[in-house]
Amino acid sequence: MKLVKIFTNFWFGASIFAFRDLKTRYAGSILGAIWIILYPLSMAAITSIVFALAFQKTVENVPFFLYTLAGFSAWIFFVQTINSSTRSLVQNRDIIVNNNIPTEFILGGVALSRCVDLCITTIFLIISATFLDVISFSPWFFLKSILILLLITCTLSLISAASNVYFRDVQALVDIFLNIIFYATPIIYPLSAIPARYLWIFNLNPLTPVFSGFRASILPFSFNFSSLNLILVISFLSLLIVFIVYKRLEKNFSQFL
């Protein structure tokens, strides 16, 4: 009962901040919320034009464009949530220093507003796949891979947001780190393009199966979804541990901000 109360409080607080983020993010822009779709679309278009020359035009009979669009949808959620979270505590310094507000409301708001983006891009992806007749949507596997993506994203966001309070170098380091992850995860290239003897490196990256799972839940790729079970448990536990540590550090935020 108490847990339910805590969760509804968090949900309400986070949604207030998510609303603020969503409403103000594109305030004053002409295209407004269309940017949510336009950004991954243009990224996918650019890479498929550039990379389709180097790689094949299809991956397992799915157009390369859809392959990268699926990858970018998930990736943009991942990278933008972490980037915004990292800066959000510093940006909301006024609020944190002057009010005893649980700071996870602010971070939750960031994640939630980016979830809305992810929903929109995913719907767009599903419509495009249906239109091109390569849809193979399985809601259960979709939810499973999204859940893991969310858990990993939140864990990394909490770590980077909290450490950025103490060392502002973190926001620069996070950019570099995310850039490395981007190339170490099959987003703009298929795993089949990787030479077999280097494949183990990519399999060490927990994001590789998550992204492959996300793609395979919407597009007709073969993927063994039971391989996600262990990652789900580990990512849940790590979020729990990170959150507990975060709540301990939170008490000192107003002094260091």
């Binding site: 509804t8 309400f12 609303f19 006024d94 609020i95 002057n98 009010n99 103490y166 060392f167 002094q255």
Partner: protein
């Protein structure tokens, strides 16, 4: 549980101390590089003790940098004490920086949601306070307009109203009172007096008139300490002096600027209340506030036992006080500046 919180004070500071590191980044850098630079520390509050009960309004008064806001932040739980114990019983709304968190691209209504959440008001209470706050602030039709079109007075009126109608046990206010026009201030003070019996209120202001009007008690802060007892003894000594005796003092604030500047030295002579004339500069001390106040006499009245209305030269508006013979100390006869 309920009877407990009735009997026990709502806010209790037990021997609370707080120290800040002024150069935390250097501290971390020297930690990594292994340098042994001693971090620069400043003590903001030292061994503070006080209690605030339900139904009490306590004013915090002191010069800038004396640690008033730190006391409020400690009470709000934003800062943790290094030493001692801060005990808080009940829910808190704290307005330490008025309007911190309001967003200019959101409408008034949306900002109510946001600001109330920031103040820690639970969801179900936000809808209850909404209409009351809108009405009290006098925003009217502007409530559905983005806040960037508000005047700064409207913004602070809305923020103050939200805090005022937050149904919490404890209210912490940092200079929130000095907002809006005199009508709104009047309304605000009446509202505070009305809600005070269910709350414990701790507020900061530099407006000494407000301290007299609102507070049951004043905590005088200087360099992170409460000066109450020392000052009380000094005032008591002055009160016991015979007529015609002179005493000296140093100006602590600029409320009589340009006639008196902060740091000026004063000589005050004890005389009778009946000798006061309009435009005299007089010294007095109020019962709830352990400090000698120097003001200019605005008018003298003979009603009751006689009283006079005073005001500071530099302040406008509400900073007028009523001084009775019991509170009167003496007349300023001489002042000179340090330089």
């Amino acid at each position: 549980m309920k009877t407990n919180s009735k009997e026990l004070p709502r806010i209790e500071f037990i021997d609370v101390s707080k120290t800040f590191f002024i150069n935390p980044t250097n501290q971390l850098r020297s930690f990594i590089l292994g340098k042994k630079n001693p971090p620069l520390r400043i003590s903001v509050s030292q061994h503070l003790n006080f209690k605030i009960n339900k139904g009490e309004i306590v004013g915090l008064y002191g010069p800038n940098g004396s640690g008033k806001s730190t006391v409020l932040r400690l009470a709000a739980g934003i800062l943790q004490p290094d030493d001692g114990k801060v005990i808080v019983r009940g829910s808190i709304a704290s307005v330490i920086e008025l309007g911190a968190g309001l967003h200019f691209d959101l409408t008034g209504n949306e900002n109510i949601n946001l600001y109330a959440t920031i103040l820690g008001i639970p969801q179900e209470k936000i809808n209850i306070l909404r209409n009351k706050a809108i009405e009290f602030s006098g925003i009217g039709n502007f409530i559905d307009v983005p806040m960037k079109y508000y005047s700064s007075g409207m913004r602070s009126r809305l923020a103050t109203s939200i805090a005022l109608f937050a149904d919490t046990d404890i209210l912490l206010l940092d200079e929130a009172i000095a907002v809006g026009d005199s009508d709104f201030r009047q309304k605000f003070m009446e509202k505070i007096k009305k809600i005070k019996k269910n709350k414990a209120i701790l507020f900061i202001t530099h407006d000494v008139g407000l301290l007299q009007h609102l507070s049951d008690r004043v905590l005088l802060m200087d360099h992170g300490n409460f000066k109450n007892t020392e000052n009380e003894i000094a005032i008591w000594r002055i009160q016991k002096m015979p007529i015609g005796k002179k005493f000296q003092g140093k100006v602590q604030s600029n409320s009589m600027y340009p006639f008196l500047k902060k740091g000026d030295n004063l000589t005050i002579i004890k005389n009778r209340f009946s000798e006061i004339r309009k435009d005299d500069i007089i010294a007095f001390a109020l019962p709830n506030m352990p400090q000698v106040i120097v003001h200019r006499v605005d008018n003298v009245y003979k009603k009751d036992n006689g009283y006079c209305i005073t005001r500071g030269d530099s302040s406008i508006g509400l900073d007028t006080w009523k001084v009775t013979p019991n509170e009167y100390l003496g007349k300023v006869v001489f002042s000179f500046s340090k330089e």
